[in-house]
Symmetry: C2
């Protein structure tokens, strides 16, 4: 009966949903990085005239969604569902954005995997005949994430070399049953994978096994091999996590050397920008996909991409209680 399922965890879409619009916004630091020429909008000031970082993050997410709608000449009334989430407790950015937009809303929490979690569910809602237009969007903000997950910024604490830098950024995509743009052909839903890492300053190592698990299952379910893709892109493993993922994939017999990259590695020049292992946060894979990858697909520079956003499902309370960090990764196959 589950006629669209392939293998263990993959869905194939008979009528692939189209990504008809994408919009990316990043903060000033991300706007000085290697991808600066690709983003649709670079903030001059990451407070955006708001009184708090949280309100600024919500405004950034709302702006990205509104701009993605404008790009494809749609209004909130045209959208059947908004699927969104962020890193803040109780999805503060997404909830207040949903209030202001007035679109039927399902809140998602997948930590930094939220971009592909929202894209996966959005694709199923369209292919299933439940919606014509769905928005998948997410955001993160360096200053909101630091004070929620780590220390108050005023504390000025130092980070170890394995730490990552939360991206201030947002990405919004409009998916549609009809229209022009790259299409989502398959999704592979992730399981929670926990290799026992307990260091919240080494999330790349915690998330890499989840990414590898999902990528390996994607190949096995679809019969595809790494060379089918022009690019296999994890969300925010950073440099150490990327290396671990590459090693684990090689051990499993997948040679991804020439096609594998990580959004967290791409977004910053880690040496000159002092971002340690690279970028992280929901906004990392969201802004890199919407800013760089989507446009390169529209230009046909990239034809087949596997986006695998990766999430570390820790909270301050789970860390305080000695729990290890569970990881999750959802894969979305996009083709032009």
């Amino acid at each position: 009966m589950a006629v669209k399922k392939m293998g263990q965890q993959t869905i194939r879409f008979p009528l692939p949903p189209k990504i008809i619009s994408a919009y990316s916004i990043v903060g000033p630091k991300e706007g000085e990085g290697p991808l600066k020429d690709w983003f649709d909008e670079i903030l001059e000031d990451d407070m955006i005239k708001e009184k708090t970082w949280e309100k600024a993050e919500s405004k950034m997410l709302r702006s990205a969604i509104n701009a993605s709608l404008k790009n494809c000449q749609k209004t909130p009334e045209d959208i059947d569902f908004l699927l969104s989430g962020d890193l803040l407790n109780q999805l503060m950015s997404a909830s207040y954005t949903a209030r202001d937009l007035g679109i039927p809303f399902y809140g998602l929490y997948g930590a930094c995997s939220t971009m592909t979690e929202s894209l996966s569910l959005a694709s199923m809602l369209i292919d299933g005949g439940f919606a014509d237009h769905v928005i998948a969007a997410t955001s993160s903000h360096f200053s909101t994430a630091e004070r929620q997950y780590r220390f108050p910024l005023e504390h000025g604490n130092q980070k170890p070399p394995t730490a990552q830098w939360t991206v201030t950024g947002s990405g919004a995509l409009v998916l549609a049953s009809q229209g022009a743009g790259p299409v989502i052909t398959h999704i592979t839903a992730g399981k929670v994978v926990d290799f026992g890492v307990t260091d919240a300053n080494n999330m790349g190592a915690a998330m890499a096994p989840a990414a590898v698990d999902t990528i390996a299952i994607h190949f096995s379910d679809t019969g595809r091999s790494p060379d089918f893709y022009d690019l296999i892109l994890t969300g925010d493993l950073g440099q150490l996590g990327k290396q671990i993922a590459k090693d684990l994939l090689t051990e499993k017999g997948f040679n991804v050397e020439s096609v594998y990259n990580d959004c967290g590695v791409m977004i910053f020049d880690s040496i000159n920008q002092d971002t340690h292992c690279g970028g992280s946060g929901c906004g990392c894979s969201a802004s890199v996909f919407c800013g760089n990858i989507y446009k390169r697909m529209m230009k046909k520079e990239l034809k087949n991409v596997l986006l695998v956003s990766t999430g570390a499902l820790l909270s301050t309370i789970s860390t305080q209680q000695g729990e290890s960090i569970p990881g999750i990764a959802h894969a979305v196959a996009v083709s032009i």
Copy 2:
């Protein structure tokens, strides 16, 4: 193209997904309330031999899911997706439950609306041909919620009469494309509605307008009237919120007097149990639906039920920053 959509926000399922199993667990206080004879399991001790309340909540959720699987002779390997969430930051209960079960997992955050958010998405995944079996499950715990949203319990603070009492409870449902049990015929997805309530001790008033908005749109989209249902059941508005919802529905011309109730009102004897306005939390509508309503439907005492779990999308940070409390409500129409 969105062939299964009716009106503004409602989906009609041509092949309604079946609820083939349900299981409810509640804490000792809930087990002394008016519904005590209906719950599948009543905990003697809400720590369940764990060292922290959070770990106890996660164990309760996991136990409810495992028991719901056993009830229908399924194992985690039979399940295509787990859709779950809770009230804790970063979904601590659901994330660790998903880790232990090993089922592909989409984390959801809808505050106390999570039971119907998960049921809505689960129904679409089954009807869309993406899954044969999906688990929709959620939990809340009095002690984890108090310390996260309000004050440390050790503080012993008093609550105003409008406050509600977070239910220690969990409910898990197994939905299937084939099998026996009540069916989900329609869902109505909610928009975020904010009437400007800023008192975190009066969440019933904050959520009631969202419930009324979704219920009114459900009637308009489906052409149904209140008398189609044997029971229209909001999630956790409590006594004050229930009265507000009833008044607002009457103003809109819907006479729900004889068919309307609220899980938060049903679960406690508020006078003798000192629970002020009644129960709240994701586990409230989850345990009442799985414990009481599902069984009454199986006995054909109830034939058509509209379950409308209600969520208040506040966080401690949004409250500290002076934001009002946005509400959301998702409706699920269940028939036997």
